[in-house]
Symmetry: C2
Subunit: 393 residues, 2 copies
C-alpha cells in the first residue's frame, strides 16, 4: 500500500554505496580498497565495511596484492565470477545452442544439440536435459543458476512472453514456454526474440560496442531485424518491432497473397533466392549454398540473383535508415552474412539513400543470439543484485 522508498531491510544509503563499489570494481578490474575509496569519493572506512559485507556474502573475493610501488601492499578485490551463473539458450528450427556463463560473462560451458522435432512440451524436457549436461560439463550445480535467457524465433508478447508466430518450431504457440520452463526448474526465465538477442550480442561484445543506434538485419530462411535505439533494445508496442518481413518492398504489398510471409520476406528469403536463380536460368533444385558456389564460379544467373537480392536489401536498409537513422547495420543470417552479398549491398546503398549507414558482417555469426542471451543475463544479474531502485510515486 504505502510506497517504500528506502529498501525493506538495507537502508538506501548503504545500497547506493554498495552499488558504487560494485560498479567501480567491475569497471576497474582487480582493485584495492584504498583505490575504490579514491574513485568513489567515499571514505576508506566505508569502503572497508561495504567490501567486508560483500566478501561475506560471496560477491567479492581477494585476488592478489599490489607491488612495485612504495608503501604498504594492498589487497586487491575482484567480483567473484562464480557467485552468479546463468544459462543462455538459442532455440532454432534445427539446432539448440546453449551455454552457461558467469557473472563476468565468461563462458563456462557451451554445447549444441539437434532440436527435438516433436516440439512443444518436449522442448522443455530437452532444455532441462541440456542444462544438466552443461552443469556436468562445467562442474557446476543447478542450484547456483540464477537465470535463464531463452531466445526463440517469432514475435513475443512483451508482457506475457507468449510466442505468437514461430513457423519453424511446432507446438510452441499453444503453450507458455517461458512459464513452463521457469516452473519446472524454479528459476526466472527471460524469453526474447532471437534476432533481438543477436543485436544484444553485438552490442555487448561485438561490432555494436559503444554504438547507441544500430540494427542487426538477419537474412536466411526468413528475415528479421533487432534494433538498438538510444542504447537499448527496441521491442515496439506488440513486440513486433523489426519485423521487416512485412516491409512493402520487393513486391506489391496490396497483393493479399503476400500476407502469409510478408512482402519483403517473399522477395528475399531463401525460397525467393533459389526461385530467382532458377528463373535467371540456374540449375533446377539448387540450394542457397549451390547458388553461392555458382556465384563463386562466376555463373551469370547466380550473380543476377544475388545482385537482385542485394538491391532489394539496400532498399530495405534505406527504409530502415529513413526511419531509425542507425549509425551501423550489422548483417547476419545464413544469407545476410555472406560477404559477396554484403559487398553488393554496400555498392547499391549510396545510390538509393543519402548518407548511408556503415554495413558490417556479424561479429559472432550464428552464435550472436547465444552471446546476446549471455549479455542480457549478465546485465540482469547485475541489476538484480546491485541495482538501485528509487521507487515511483
Amino acid at each position: 500500500m504505502a510506497m517504500i522508498v528506502s529498501g525493506e531491510q538495507t537502508p538506501i544509503a548503504r545500497k547506493i554505496s554498495t552499488h558504487a563499489v560494485i560498479r567501480t570494481v567491475m569497471a576497474n578490474g582487480p582493485i584495492s580498497r584504498a583505490d575504490i575509496a579514491k574513485r568513489t569519493g567515499l571514505s576508506k572506512q566505508t569502503i572497508s565495511e561495504v567490501v567486508r559485507d560483500l566478501e561475506q556474502d560471496g560477491w567479492l573475493k581477494p585476488t592478489g596484492r599490489t607491488d612495485g610501488r612504495p608503501g604498504r601492499t594492498a589487497i586487491t578485490y575482484e567480483l567473484d565470477a562464480a557467485a552468479g551463473l546463468a544459462v543462455s539458450i538459442d532455440l532454432g528450427g534445427t539446432k539448440i545452442a546453449a551455454a552457461i556463463c558467469d557473472l563476468l560473462g565468461n563462458i563456462v560451458a557451451e554445447l549444441k544439440v539437434p532440436t527435438d522435432r516433436r516440439g512443444g512440451i518436449h522442448l522443455v524436457e530437452q532444455f532441462c536435459r541440456t542444462i544438466s549436461d552443461l552443469n556436468a560439463l562445467a562442474g557446476t550445480s543447478s542450484d547456483s543458476l540464477r537465470l535463464i535467457v531463452l531466445g526463440t524465433p517469432g514475435v513475443l508478447d512483451p508482457a506475457t512472453g507468449h510466442i505468437h508466430a514461430a513457423p519453424n518450431i511446432p507446438g510452441v504457440e499453444a503453450i507458455n514456454l517461458r512459464q513452463l520452463l521457469s516452473e519446472t526448474l524454479d528459476i526466472p526465465v527471460i524469453i526474447e526474440n532471437d534476432v533481438n538477442l543477436a543485436a544484444e550480442g553485438e552490442r555487448w561484445r561485438g561490432h555494436g560496442i559503444d554504438v547507441d543506434n544500430f540494427a542487426f538485419v538477419a537474412l536466411g530462411t526468413g528475415t528479421g531485424m533487432g534494433i538498438i535505439a538510444n542504447g537499448a533494445l527496441l521491442r515496439g508496442a506488440r513486440g513486433a518491432a523489426g519485423e521487416i518481413s512485412y516491409l512493402p518492398i520487393g513486391g506489391d504489398p496490396f497483393d493479399p497473397g503476400g500476407f502469409n510471409l510478408g512482402t519483403f520476406e517473399t522477395a528475399v528469403g531463401s525460397m525467393a533466392m533459389t526461385r530467382r536463380y532458377v528463373g535467371f536460368g540456374g540449375r533446377q533444385g539448387a540450394t542457397v549454398a549451390d547458388l553461392f558456389n555458382a556465384f563463386e564460379c562466376g555463373e551469370l544467373s547466380a550473380v543476377a540473383a544475388i545482385e537482385e537480392t542485394a538491391r532489394l536489401t539496400a532498399l530495405a536498409i534505406a527504409a530502415i535508415g529513413a526511419t531509425l537513422d542507425p549509425e551501423l547495420v550489422i548483417m547476419g543470417g545464413s544469407i545476410g552474412a555472406r560477404p559477396e552479398l554484403v559487398e553488393a549491398i554496400r555498392r547499391y546503398l549510396p545510390r538509393c539513400t543519402p548518407d548511408p549507414p556503415r554495413i558490417e558482417i556479424s561479429h559472432f555469426g550464428n552464435r550472436a543470439a547465444l552471446i546476446g542471451g549471455m549479455g542480457i543475463a549478465v546485465d540482469h544479474m547485475h541489476d538484480d543484485l546491485f541495482g538501485v531502485d528509487l521507487g515511483e510515486p
Copy 2:
C-alpha cells in the same frame, strides 16, 4: 578527478527524500504532509523537514486546508508554479509561435508573429523581442526564465545542435542558432526538430499520453516524423531518425533526381499533390486548399489525387510499422491532418499490412510543436531541480 557520489553539499539521502517528496507532490496535486509521508513511506518528521526547506527555497507553497473529514485539518502544499518559467518557440517558415509556461506546464502567455524573412542573425533578434513581448504580456520578468526550447525544421546534430538542412528558413545553417540565442540571453537553450517536438507534445498532453511507442507523421509542404520509442524521443545517430522524406516509396529510389527532396516527399508533398491533381484533370494552378475543396464537391480528379496520396502514405506507415511496431500513428501537418485523407489511409492500411496501428489526427494541430517544447521544458526543469544523479564510475 575523484568521483563524488554524495552531492557536493546536500547529502545523497536527503536529495533522494527531496526528490521523492517533489514527485509525490507533482503527481498528487495539493497534498498534506501526512499524506506525503504515507505515500512515500518516509516518516512525518522527515517530510516536515524537507517541506520546510523546499518552502524556504520557494519551490513549494501552502495552498489550502483539508476539510470535510474527521481529524485535525491539514495544510496542503503544492508546487509553486511560478518558481520556474520557460519559453517554447516554434520557428516555422512563415510564422513564429512562442509561449511562456510555468513549472506545472500552465501556459502563462502565448503569441504568434510572422517570421523575419531575412533569417539568420535577424531571427535571434526577433526571438529576443518576442520573449520580451511575452514577458510584458504575462507580467513576468526575464530573470525568472530558466530555459528556452526552440523547435526548428531540419536535421539537427544531437551533440552540437547545429542545423543541417532547413530549406524554408534562410541563413540558419551558417550560424549556431542555439549558441547565439543562449549567449545573448544568458539562458540555456535546447534546440529540437519541430516534428520531434510535435511528438513530444502529443506524448505530454495529447493522444500519446501513456503510449510508449508511437509516431507523429507530418505531411505538408515537406514530410517528417517524430518517434517516441520505449517512452522516449528517438533521434538516431545523426539526428535524422524519422526523416521519412527519404523512404524508398512512391517512386524509383535509384533515380538520382530524387536525392534532393527524397523519394517519398517527392511523391506526397504538397507540390506532388497539386501536380497529381492537375495530371488527373484538375484545374491548373490549384493550391492544396483548392484541391480539398474540390474533393468536398466530389470532383473526381481531386478524389483520385487524395486517394493516391493516401495509398502511398499507407505504404509508408506499413514500412514504419514493420520497423517500429508503434501502437499509434498520429497524423499532423497541413495535409496529413485532413480528415478526408486520414479516413482514406485508414481504409488502405489493413490491405497492405497485418495488424495495423491505430491512426489518429493530431490533438493539437499546428500547436503540437509549441506544446511539445513546453513539455520538454517542464521535464527538463524538473530534472534540473530535483533530479538524482548517482554518478558513473
